[in-house]
Structures are given as structure tokens and as C-alpha cells.
Amino acid sequence: MVVTNVAVVKPRSADELASSLREAAAAGKSVTPIGGGRAATMGGLLERCDVELRMTALDRVIEHAAADMVVTVEAGIQLEALQEHLAKSGQFLPLDPFNSPGHTVGGLLAGGWTGPLRLRYGSARDFTIGIRVALPDGKLASAGGRVVKNVSGYDLMKLHVGAHGSLGVIVAASFKVFPRPLRDVTVESQDGWTAADHVLSLPMAPAALELFSDGRVIARYFGSPDAVDVTVKATGWAQADESVWREHSRSAPARWARIATPRTELRRVIESLPAGARWWCSPGTGLAHWSFGDAAEVEKVRKLAEAAGGSLVLMAAPDDVKNEVGAWGTPPPTLDVMRRLKDAFDPHHVLNPGRFVV
């Protein structure tokens, strides 16, 4: 990255943000939005960065209709602040990303980050019901709405979630939120894959299930009291303290990668990791995170993951590794279509140039 006089802009409103964006774009300056910065290590190296758009002043809860279980927030709000707000009504947003705390909601959406609760609740794409995005021409465009079910117009939420700000800057979003479970129990085992497979075969699925390279497995059960108790008993595992999840969410090695494969292929790919590698994975979803060593290792494992129909992307890596193997791997076959969409939203490529695949 050529760092030359980065101008920092910290807009206080969506309109202010939109006009800063428009001005920068009109002047041919490249713009990088940044929230908590927790996910900023992901993706390719920025080719340019003339203006840094700090999102953290846009941190309001715009509306929380507790009875409707819907919340609308500005993108710069920190996840922990939002959870605290929701907790007052016994609700929560099922996002529990790694490298916590300190993520902003907008950053999480743009990065498409998830955590262990993905198993039960899906990813942000599954519960983001509305979005407001600033485009490089200064327009503010919304899609979706504030109701839990909506097919009015194109589902642009999907397009922006995980797009790493390449099409626009997310300024606000609405979510379907969930009631805190009546019972929440965490259990653990040391028996690795066997234990993980066992709990996945039980009639009641865990809300989260994480397996670690040292053979430890932790599972979390959400549900009505009797159902959770009977299932916990069926696991035969020891109860663990809920704090293991907070601890787990801090995970963020200096260099790490995300491996995503079809669920049924995950174990095979993980077993190809170098001996003694540190990793953790979610056997129920097909996602794994790996603290890799060098570029050669990454290349080898990526080849396997891609051959299994999946991917390996770098979550944090030194510049030389990013330069050598690329952050994203083999581009998707639909890259051409994606590029055309990029051109339609950001014709002069001022948004995060170099960061994403488009």
C-alpha cells in the first residue's frame, strides 16, 4: 500500500457520510471505510487509500422494536454495545465473531464474519432484513425493510454482506433478533471428532459446536429446560462454564486463515493440515480457522479446500504472504458477472481498491 496523506473523515450522519463519499469519488480519491478495524486484516492489500471513512460516530440504535424482535442500527455501533442494549429486553443478535471484542456491526456485515452460533442461526445473510448503503455517487440506497419477512424488490442485503465494502458503504442495517434461550448450557469433551460426530447425530442439534486441534470439543445447547437437560445428559459430556465462549471469541492468531468446505469434506481437509498445526473448526457448518505457518502451507491446503468445492481465505497475514498467494485464492467462475456489478455501483473503483476480488 502506498500511504500518502490519508485524510481521515469521521461522518456524524448518513448524509454527511454520503456527501464525503461523493466528494472523494468525484475527486478520484479512493476511500476505505473502517469500523472497529477488527476485520481490516482480511482481504488483499489496498492499492490506494486516500480517504479513510471512520464509521464509529455512527453508533446509534435507530430503533429497537422489542415486541417485534427487530432492531435497526447505524453501522458504526459496536457489537457489544448492541448486545447490551438488546439484553435489556432479553434478546440478542446471534453474531459472535472471532477477534472480539470491538467489531462494529457494519464491519461484520461487510466482512461476512460469523462465529460458533452460525450452526444454529446461520450467518448475517440469514437475519439481516434491511440495509442502507452509501454509494460513490452520493446516493443513499435502502433495500429490505424492518419486517421479518419481505420479498419487496431485490435482496440487496445479500449483495453487500460479505462484499468488503466494494459496492458501497453500509451505513445502517436492520436485523431480526432472537429471544435469549430459556436454558443455555455448555458442555465439553476431549474426544475430538468422535465426540463431535456423536452430538451432531443426537436428535436435538447444538446451537454451537467447536472442535479444537488439541481434541477439545465444546458444545452449547439452547432451548427449553427439559429438552436441553435431556440432551446434555445424552451427550455424556462434562458441563463447562459459559465463559469458554467469550474466551473462544477472542481467537485471532497473528496469521490465520478461514477454510470453508462442504460439511462432509471438512475433516478430510483438516486432516491434511501440517502436523501440530493449531486450528479450530465447526464440524456442523464446514468452517475452520487455522493458524498457518507460511505461504507454501497455505497453497497446499488451499488447493485441497478448493478441490473439495470450498475455499481458503486469509484472515490475517503478513504482506509478503498476501502478495505471494493472494488473500482469496482462485477467483470464482462468475468473476466476470461480479465485476460488472462492481462497475455498476462503483464505476471508478474508488471503494477499497485491491481489498476484495472485484
Binding site: A66, A141, V147, D155, S311
Partner: protein, 480 residues
């Protein structure tokens, strides 16, 4: 504009002689889906595979002919209506279930596979396909994906988009692409997410990979009567805010229950002001506990005559009644006009009383049957199209109801799609900039506007068109 004999010949060479329909009389039979409006296609083409879809699309692109994908034609928003003429691309011959993978819990299907057939085929593996539109006996998975269909059980399980893992699609230029797939978090933009629910305006869908879920070991279905729609709505809010998300939470008003009982005899109480059908599933311990808690909430909200289905057969019958409800309304009047606006759940009592007042004002019978747990209304205005005068009233009433939904912070459509029916209302909820952003997607993928033209986006040339001026349908013969 009718297609030239040369174009017809080209199409015949692609799909086979018998699979292009171009006779004027036959074509008229394809003018409708399950909505109000109709328009006759210039040709109906029935491809057998992806290659044929792609080749048809290329011919259409070369001659600038509109293409409208069509499944079973059970859509309620006019999505399959060829309003600008052109080719109706009916995928009902592509109805193979290509693969069910019981280990990965996925299925690969062609777009013409009927929704319920997939669950039937998955049942021996103790799996099912969760999105269950009420028309699931007839509607196709391709149509479901195009419309992002919902259904009663989407309250807990999510709508179609949450269950589509990937799709093979044909774009307007005839190019074939796979978007997304079995692995989560694919690299790049989530094209699949945008294409699901794009109502045939961005692509034709040729294969769909869907997630299957394990059949829950235990299901409990509870029927409860309420003195009025308002009390039932309060009960819905009560359940949701108690922290329970049932698998399904459905409401029917008295008018609907009467029609449903006439056909299904499912044991719905016909004297109640409204009934709720609540279902929870999971392991037996969970369903037992949840049903007790739900009964409690319902009773506190004046629920009475609560009855739990005692057998799978009884449960099936209750659901058959619920799912056939809109069709059953034909017993009252031959035509229905319904919107499917969504409101925040806490606004249900308000919006339902507004719907009632509007019906009364126009002296039109209104039957409510809907996904209460989602706040997804289905007010059916019942009328007889043979009475041409009433059509204006119907349209005005429908519009006012939708207006009430929007004013309460709601959305135009929860699961039926915008299509032809509600595109004029899009500016009520979306600014010109919002629509412009959507249009960028459309223009990128379909620069010549050939795929399902005239849908979703407001059509300035048609703003003044009223129902009465549109094509009429079958009801004039006095058969029922």
C-alpha cells in the same frame, strides 16, 4: 408482437416440435397464473435441459424477444404473466430430482420439481425440505426460488433463500453459471442471494441445490379459538414476546374457517371469531414444554376450545385445511384479490382492524388467513368478476389495505413477490435512489430488459391501468 415463423422454427429445432406452442387458442390458456391479471404469450416453450434453456435464451436475445420463466403458474403476483408478450419459458418438463444426499443433507433438483415431491422423496431418509408454501402440492421449486417463497413453517425455519445453497442459472445472454454451492462463505459477491427472489427478472433457474433438514422427532399442533381477530392478534404478540418462536403460527378468521370446514371437515370451530394454529417441533421434551407454555399464553389472551392434534392424520388434516384455505374461499365468491403485506408483529391488531374497516367501507367481504407469527397478512377480498362494477372497488380496497400496511411500517410483500400486482406501489416504500440501486443490478445482468419485463419496477406507462381494463377470466360460465 407475434413471433415470425423463422423464430418459431428456431425454437422448435432447440426443444423439439411438440414443445413449442404457438397456436393462438392454445396460447390463451397460458395467459394467467394464480393472480388477477393476464396477458397472452407469443409462444410457450418447454425446454428439457439447461442447454435448451440457454439456446432459447440466445435466440430470444438475438431477436430481442422477452422471456418469462414459468413453473406451475401458481404465483399470486403475476410473476409468470407475459405482460409484454414474448416467450413463456415453462420449466415443467424439467422435473427430475437429480440427487438426494442423505449424509450432506442436500438435494439437487431441476426447477420443475414440485415442492412437495421433494419432501416426499426425502422422507425415507428422515429429511424434509422446509419452505412449505400453501401451494406446495403444485408449485415448483424453481418458482419458489424465483419468488423467494415462504410458507407457514418459515416462521422458525426461514424462507426459501435460507435453504438454497446454490443454483445453476441462465442469464439473459444465454450464458450458464453456477452461483454458490455446498460450501459456506464462497469467495466473491453473493450472487445466489440476489438471484433468489428476483422474480425471473435476472435469470432463468435451471438447477437448484437445497438444504434438507432432519425430520423432527416430535411435532405438536395446537388449535385454539378466539372471540375475535383482535384477541387472536394479541395472543400472537403474546407468544412471540414470551420468547418462544414456534415452527408455525397461523391465523384464520371466521369467514375463512367456514369455507375451509365446508371442504376439509378438519374440525375447525366455525363459531369462533378467529382461530390460531400453532405448531412446535423438536424432541418430545421440547414440544411438551413449549405447548404448555403456549397454551398458557393463549389462555391469558382469551383463547378457548384448545385442541391438540392427537395423530399425524389429524395434524395433516388441520394443515390441509390451512393450506387449502385460499382456494376454499372460492366457495364464497368465485374471485379473490389478495395482498400479502407484512407488518411488524405488534401492529397486527391495528392493521387487521383497518383491513376490516376498509372491507366494510367498500361493502366487500374480506377473509383473513395468514402467517400471524411473521406479521404476514393475506387479506382476501372476495368478489365476482362477472360484476364489472365491483372491480374498481376491489382494486381501491386492496390499495387502501396495502397503504395501511405501509403506514404501519410494513412491507409490500412477504412472500408472493411484487410482480405485476404491486410494482406500481414500490415508490411507497422505496425512494428513487433505492430503486435506482436495484435497477443497476437489473441493467447489469439483463441490459436489454428481456427477462420478465414489466415486473418489480414501477412501469410508468401502466400506472393508470385498472383491473377492469385487464384481461378477464374463466368465471363467466355459471358452473360454480
Amino acid at each position: 408482437m407475434p413471433l415470425t415463423p423463422q423464430v418459431i422454427e428456431e425454437l422448435r429445432r432447440i426443444v423439439g416440435r411438440d414443445h413449442v406452442i404457438d397456436g393462438a387458442d392454445d396460447l390463451r390458456i397460458f395467459e394467467r397464473d394464480a393472480s388477477i391479471e393476464g396477458a397472452v404469450p407469443d409462444a410457450v416453450v418447454l425446454p428439457a435441459n439447461t442447454k435448451q434453456v440457454s439456446d432459447v435464451m440466445k435466440v430470444a436475445a438475438r431477436h430481442r424477444i422477452p422471456v418469462v420463466p414459468r413453473g406451475a403458474g401458481t404465483g399470486l403476483s403475476g410473476g409468470a404473466v407475459t405482460i409484454r408478450g414474448g416467450i413463456a419459458l415453462q420449466v415443467t418438463r424439467m422435473r427430475r430430482i437429480l440427487e438426494i444426499d442423505p449424509v450432506a443433507q442436500t438435494a439437487l433438483v431441476e426447477p420443475g420439481v414440485v415442492n412437495q415431491e421433494l419432501s416426499l422423496a426425502a422422507a425415507p431418509h428422515h429429511l424434509f425440505y422446509a419452505p412449505d408454501p400453501s401451494s406446495q402440492k403444485a408449485c415448483t421449486i424453481g418458482g419458489n426460488a424465483a419468488e423467494n417463497s415462504g410458507g407457514p413453517h418459515c416462521l422458525y425455519y426461514g424462507v426459501t433463500t435460507n435453504h438454497v445453497l446454490g443454483m445453476e442459472v441462465v442469464l439473459a445472454d444465454g450464458s450458464v453459471h453456477w452461483v454458490s454451492g455446498d460450501a459456506p462463505d464462497r469467495v466473491g459477491l453473493d450472487l445466489c442471494g440476489v438471484l433468489v427472489g428476483s422474480e425471473g427478472t435476472l435469470c432463468a433457474i435451471t438447477r437448484i441445490k437445497v438444504r434438507l433438514l432432519r425430520t423432527p422427532p416430535s411435532i405438536a399442533t395446537l388449535l385454539a379459538a378466539f372471540p375475535s381477530i383482535e384477541t387472536a392478534s394479541q395472543a400472537v404478540s403474546g407468544v412471540i414476546s414470551s420468547g418462544i418462536v414456534p415452527a408455525a403460527l397461523e391465523m384464520m378468521d371466521q369467514v375463512t374457517v367456514g369455507a375451509v370446514e365446508a371442504h376439509y371437515r378438519a374440525g375447525y370451530p366455525t363459531d369462533a371469531g378467529a382461530v390460531l394454529l400453532v405448531e412446535v417441533d423438536g424432541i418430545p421434551e421440547a414440544t411438551r414444554e413449549l405447548i404448555v407454555a403456549i397454551r398458557d399464553v393463549l389462555a391469558k389472551n382469551q383463547g378457548y376450545a384448545m385442541r391438540e392434534a392427537q395423530s399425524p392424520a389429524e395434524r395433516d388434516l388441520l394443515w390441509a385445511g390451512r393450506k387449502g384455505a385460499i382456494g376454499a374461499l372460492g366457495r364464497i365468491k368465485p374471485n379473490y384479490y389478495l395482498h400479502d403485506g407484512v407488518v411488524p408483529r405488534s401492529r397486527l391488531p391495528q392493521v387487521l382492524s383497518a383491513v376490516g374497516e376498509i372491507g366494510e367501507h367498500y361493502r366487500l367481504p374480506v377473509a383473513n388467513v395468514f402467517h400471524a407469527g411473521d406479521g404476514n397478512l393475506h387479506p382476501n377480498i372476495l368478489f365476482d368478476m362477472r360484476d364489472r362494477e365491483v372491480l374498481h372497488q376491489v382494486e381501491d380496497a386492496g390499495e387502501e389495505m396495502l397503504r395501511a400496511v405501509v403506514e404501519l411500517g410494513g412491507a409490500l410483500s412477504g412472500e408472493h413477490g411484487i410482480g405485476l400486482e404491486k410494482n406500481a406501489y414500490m415508490p411507497w416504500v422505496f425512494s428513487p435512489d433505492d430503486l435506482d440501486a436495484m435497477h443497476r443490478v437489473k441493467d447489469t445482468l439483463d441490459p436489454n430488459g428481456l427477462l420478465n419485463p414489466g415486473k418489480i419496477f414501477p412501469d410508468p406507462s401502466r400506472r393508470q391501468v385498472r383491473l377492469a381494463g385487464r384481461t378477464g377470466f374463466a368465471v363467466e360460465a355459471k358452473w360454480w
